[in-house]
Amino acid sequence: MLTINFEKCTGCKICEKVCPFGAIVVIDAIAQVQDNCTLCGACVNSCPVDALSIERKPVPKEELDTFSGIFIWGECEERDKGTTPKKVVRELLAQGRKLADSLDQALTVVVLGDDKMQGLEALITYGADRVMRCQHKLLGRFTTDSFTNVIAVIISIEKPSIFLFGATPHGRELAPRVAARLHCGLTADCTGLEINEKGELVQTRPAFGGNIMASIVSPYTRPQMATVRPNVFSFEDPDSSRKGEIVNFNVVLSPAAIKTKVVAIERLRDEKEVSIEDAGIIVSAGRGCQKKENLKLIQELADTLGGVTAGSRAIVELDWIPHTKQVGQSGLTVGPQLYMAVGISGAIQHLVGMNSAKTIIAINKDPDAPIFKVADLGIVGNAMEILPVLIRELKRVK
């Protein structure tokens, strides 16, 4: 139930403006709640004097069973002057499709953005039954406040049984905010999803840096929410014969709902450069490369192979590369066809960020380096001596 503290309420009307349902009206300088309130929580966060609060009661089992539909967040990224869904969305669609089929429910992808959103039709070819297009000028750039508001509203209207997010930096900011607003269980960074005999979503994730796997359920709350690690699930080629619909969702959003203000952006990767998350070939450097100048060799090898460069946390901390290229638990998860680890010992925190790569090659001086445990081909030797020869030979055979 939404309650209003009349002593605190100043009648400022911000809640009236941010409510997507017109469920709050300010009468005689005091806010009043109407019957059509869905408890989406948009108003609570926007109130400048903390006068609004929602009391949520545990939902009875029978009501939980009425929640239906698999929803995923279609996170977009800037590309070619537009914003298009990220690769992780295709992975989520493929996985969501399997869940939807085994539950016999529909698969919806929710895409938020401004008028620069592109490529939504393609989401149907990757498995969506419905694309929900949420367009608003305040959604052009990700903010936790605006995106949480819109997704919480959609969940309170649509009542899906499952809601999945990519475990990207933004996904991991957004999902816990939405889950906490709606009092839902949330499992982080899943690498396995399936439906058990009770129809519950079993969410499997690594813990303790990947030394242990845990399977988790959310028996009492709906939707069952999870963030899903990128580059773990594969997806098939698009199927242009698939049918689906694109629907426009009417977004109500006021600038008053957005508390944070971006005053400057410093780009360390230009739009044209392939993100390491999407790269097919990665040559990755570690502290074993000895000094920053040696990264020229890494770059040259990456160029020769048609790939991109990346690195371990250690060399990010040494300021050899920007954090946008960091592979691992506290950086990005990559899943290329080829991952070449040069001078990386392979701490477990690094391995969890790259061990889904198809082929792993490691060069390291230390024969006991843990990276060799996951490598398809390991070379014990001095990378700085091997790389120049390798580059020369590669250029010759190409």
Binding site: E77, L186, M213, A214, E266
Partner: protein
């Protein structure tokens, strides 16, 4: 101005394995440390205290009584006082129950806070969820993955440099707010002998469940929305071949052969 730093004690993760017979975690003999990202948050709090006047710092943790040592570390680094939420009734909390308990504690005991600092994730659970869940429950804005913080507008606002996927953003927000740290200010937190002695005189309050105004059903495992149904060891990838690379020419040749086999070149 009051800065709260929420911290977690974590095991040194490399040693954790599963007992193959019982299927439970084997944590005996594993050292515990203050989570490194929490240490960044502590350092940031101390750096702000050093750079601006009239700042009180409070560290809060939830965990078993042995987590006192993580809070003692905070006090040695220079934090003013500390609170440990320790009770069997908190055991088994998932991220929601943890955030909820922390939020209720802050509301009842430290409600005049201006800023909450947290680490961006803990290296054991690695969920990065408690920070955002805490800020949602407290109904304050959040800024994640911060690497630098300045107080502006008479300490009424913060200007934060945060990491984003393509680089960095400078974001401003009015306080109160919650900020998660991706990196610390690197102020060098080696405590002096005197600081270590002084830390013993500082307040380290242990708070029990009965001191909070929360229904028992909302605490710990009972209050958690998620349930762990199974833990198991990860599949170990079959090790490939390891060759001697002491002779660069030969090593490069073998590598190219391998790439050709895998059709990369």
């Amino acid at each position: 101005m009051k800065i709260i730093i929420c911290v977690k004690q974590v095991p040194e993760i490399m040693d954790i394995t599963i007992n193959p017979e019982t299927g439970t975690l084997m944590r005996e003999g594993v050292d515990s440390i203050l989570n490194p990202f929490c240490e960044y948050a502590v350092e940031m709090g101390l750096d702000l205290k050093r750079r601006y006047s009239d700042i009180e710092t409070v560290a809060i943790s939830m965990g078993p009584l042995q987590a006192k040592s993580a809070l003692m570390r905070c006090l040695e680094m220079g934090i003013g006082r500390a609170i440990l939420l320790a009770d069997m009734k908190f055991a088994g909390s998932d991220t929601w129950a943890t955030a909820f308990t922390l939020a209720e504690t802050i509301r009842t005991m430290e409600n005049d806070f201006d800023l909450i600092l947290v680490g961006k994730q803990a290296i054991d659970g690695d969920t990065a969820q408690v920070g955002p869940e805490l800020s949602e429950i407290l109904n304050i804005p959040q800024i994640m993955y911060a690497v630098g913080i300045d107080l502006i507008d008479n300490n009424k606002k913060v200007r934060v440099k945060k990491e984003i996927e393509a680089g960095n953003e400078i974001v401003e927000v009015k306080l109160p707010a919650l900020i998660s740290l991706s990196k610390g200010p690197m102020i060098g937190s080696v405590s002096s002998f005197q600081e270590i002695l002084d830390a013993r005189k500082k307040e380290l309050r242990v708070v029990r469940a009965s001191e909070l105004t929360i229904d028992e059903n909302e605490l710990g495992l009972k209050g958690s929305f998620t349930q762990v149904v199974k833990i198991f060891p990860p599949q170990v990838k079959k090790t490939g071949m390891v060759i001697d690379g002491s002779e660069p020419q030969g090593a490069a040749k073998k590598l190219i052969e391998f790439l050709k086999q895998r059709k990369v070149v």
